[in-house]
């Protein structure tokens, strides 16, 4: 009797696992193949440089002396008209040399207006809430301090705001330190798939992209409309994406607005990062799913996609449940006699197809980026898969434990930076002109006509 019950429960769990992961697999294949068509019906690249609103760029900083100079210089070198640009480095209680670096730049460039924060609740969302009150731009763009934007990124990120329905925009994050550790190499594959394949495919298909809180921006009016940043959220970016979506605003994705980032190179840092994402994301799921289902602005497909996105971290424990259930069945001889071909076929099919699906996205992204050597790392990314699954399960366990007992979870913390180069030019050395001159309007569209100049 007990054995029969165990078999039945195990089968039910496998079926649950199959249904959930099978649905995600279908979504992965759909997105992967959709991206392969390379169609961009909503692309705004041709309008880059023609949409020139007044913008405010926020750079949240907390003890960023290693990287502050790079990003400030990169923003100075951008080809955005300085008269329409305002940069607010948000120095959040730094105790190192960040303040001096920021003040030095502010002294040289009038459009850099630092906000030094010495008290209050710590963390990026709380700092952004205060800094936003000082901003005068129509569009707010954001870069984490360890990111280095290319010269054209500001224009690229503002172009989608030509569309009044666009409330936020997200650019592409490209890992720079791919060779620092095996983990950073594997994370580069993951990021590549996440942006090049998934974000772009979803945007092409008319779904809202996910705002990531850096290399992105938000329309000031839209931010005000949804009540500003949520300082309570660990992932204020995801929170904003869905708050906007529920009010009818969409988030655009600009694949060409690429920016280097530094991915975690050791597992402890990665685990903490993942833990924050899982907690924040799942919190958003709980906060938003009822409203999402009721939202009148959204089609059925959009609602489904949004729920898939919000619930994605729940797949990790479901995978583990599936494994455990199949092992339980392995130990019970009575369970070996499952002779029904279609059922067995479904199980094996699900195991093969669902697990392959995410790798198709990596493959498509790698094909598009032409980073062929990294494609060979794919078998090793199984390790990343297991590591992520465990870390996500653990984060979810903590989240639900805290939620059940009403205790507070982890606070917001900064991802550890490892960059040592403080002399600028850390990324793509020599690529940018130092101290680019102010651009004339004409210079925004034409190259300097060198003619033949004999």
């Amino acid at each position: 009797m007990a054995v029969t019950a165990l078999i039945t429960i195990s089968w039910l769990l496998i079926v649950l696992s199959m249904l959930v992961l099978g649905a995600y697999a279908v979504r992965h294949y759909y997105l992967g193949y959709s991206r392969m068509r390379l169609e961009h019906p909503r692309e705004t690249n041709e309008l880059v440089g023609f949409v020139m609103p007044r913008i405010t760029v926020f750079i949240p900083m907390h003890n960023e002396e290693k990287v502050a100079r790079d990003i400030l210089q990169a923003l100075v070198d951008c080809d955005y008209d300085w008269e329409l640009l305002e940069v607010i480095p948000v120095n959040d209680r730094s105790t190192d040399g960040t303040r001096a670096i920021v003040d030095e730049f502010a002294g040289r460039y009038p459009f850099i207006k630092p906000y030094h924060r010495t008290e209050g609740v710590g963390g990026k969302p709380a700092a952004l809430v205060e800094a936003t009150e000082l901003a005068t731009g129509d569009i707010y763009l954001m870069f984490d301090a360890d990111y280095v934007p290319g010269r054209a990124v500001l224009k690229m990120l503002t172009a989608p705001f030509v569309d009044p329905e666009i409330g936020a925009v997200m650019g592409r994050v490209v890992p720079h330190n791919i060779g620092d550790s095996l983990l950073s190499g594997l994370l580069s594959l993951e990021r590549c798939a996440g942006y090049q394949s998934v974000q772009q495919a979803r945007f092409n298909l008319g779904f809202t992209a996910q705002f990531g809180g850096t290399v992105g921006g938000v329309r000031a009016a839209a931010l005000r409309a949804v009540g500003g940043w949520n300082p309570e959220s660990l992932t204020e970016d995801t929170d904003l994406t869905f708050a906007l979506l529920l009010s009818g605003w969409r988030t655009a994705y600009v694949n060409r607005a690429e920016c280097y980032e530094e991915v975690p190179q050791d597992w402890a840092v990665r685990r903490r990062q993942l833990s924050r994402w899982v907690t924040g994301h799942t919190e958003c799921l709980h906060n938003y799913w009822p409203d999402l289902l009721r939202a009148r602005f959204l089609s059925r497909e959009e609602k489904t996609d949004a729920l898939f996105l919000l619930a994605m971290y729940l797949t990790a424990p479901i995978i583990v449940i599936g494994w455990v259930a199949s092992l339980v069945l392995f130990f019970i001889p009575e369970a070996h006699a499952v002779p029904v071909l279609p059922v067995a076929m479904l199980i094996i099919g699900y195991l093969l197809f669902s697990n392959q699906a995410t790798f198709l996205e990596i493959g498509v992204a790698t094909l598009l980026d032409g980073t062929r050597l990294r494609a060979l790392l794919m078998p090793l990314s199984l390790l990343n898969f297991f590591a992520n699954t465990g870390a996500i399960c653990n984060a979810l366990r903590k989240f639900y434990w805290n939620r059940f007992w009403g205790s507070g979870g982890d606070g917001w913390y900064k991802t550890h930076r490892t960059r040592l180069d403080t002399e600028g030019q850390a990324f793509g050395a020599g690529a940018k002109p130092a101290g680019a001159a102010r651009q004339s309007v004409k210079g925004l569209y034409y190259a300097n006509n060198e003619g033949m100049g004999d």
Binding site: D266, P333, Q356, P379
Partner: protein
């Protein structure tokens, strides 16, 4: 890349054709699997008293499972028990030293511990090699049957050249078969020498996970080779945007 209806139709047609072919020759395929496994078992010095018919799926002629002696926990050698402890210690070291492997290693340790507990408390519980053969064939036969459709998605459609895609499809299919024989023989060998001690771990690692692994291996090579052909290098297509 243009995924035209014609292209998708042709690729689907190929996948279905291979599927039908495999389904039609399922019984000879299983026989070939057993025959190759038999040879390898002999080379590996595993005593096999013969092959007995096992029912794989109703309506299908039976396949066959090997008759290899399998010891219970009390019968396994000290060496096998020592190997179990050594395996756990090795995985512990891996988990401690290589953080990226930690979760996988921890999961494998759990499998070994559960296996040890089951063996210690249910000494009479045995997995006959014939039954293992039956489970294996059920799983792998389905993998072979489904493989054309996996190939369709991973190798056939993304290839600019349909012929090359078909080549990949054939390669993956043949390799999947051969790799299955190899894994099966290794598992049966371990079953013979260590009883059930390592079987959960092996079932997890060398079952469909290994099918996934070899697919990933070939997929990574296929992406590596195709990269640059499909859309050109990054800068060339980006400049068009």
């Amino acid at each position: 890349m243009q995924l035209t209806r014609a292209r998708v139709g042709i690729a689907l047609g190929f996948a279905f054709a291979v599927f039908i072919l495999l389904a039609y020759f399922a019984v000879p395929l299983m026989a070939l699997h057993s025959s190759m496994a038999d040879t390898l078992l002999r080379w590996a010095g595993i005593p096999n008293a013969g092959w007995e018919p096992v029912s794989v799926f109703p309506g299908l002629e039976p396949g066959s499972g090997p008759l290899v002696p399998v010891p219970t926990f009390s019968q396994v050698s000290e060496g096998a028990r020592f190997a179990l402890i050594l395996g756990i210690v090795a995985l512990l070291i891996v988990a401690r030293r290589f953080s990226l492997f930690r979760n996988l290693a921890n999961f494998l340790i759990v499998l070994l511990l559960v296996s040890a507990v089951v063996n210690v408390f249910f000494d009479t519980f045995q997995l006959q090699s014939k039954v293992f053969g039956q489970i294996w064939l059920r799983q792998e036969l389905l993998v072979w049957l489904l493989m054309p459709f996996v190939s369709l998605l991973l190798f056939l459609l993304p290839q600019p050249n349909l012929g090359v895609g078909l080549g990949w499809m054939a390669l993956v299919q043949v390799y999947g078969f051969l790799f299955s024989v190899l894994r099966f023989v290794f598992c049966v060998g371990m079953l013979h020498h260590t009883g059930l001690l390592f079987m959960p771990l092996l079932w997890f690692a060398l079952g469909t996970l290994s099918d996934l692994l070899f697919l990933l291996f070939f997929y990574s090579i296929s992406v590596y080779r195709t990269s640059g052909q499909l859309w050109g290098v990054r800068s060339s297509w980006q400049s068009q945007l």
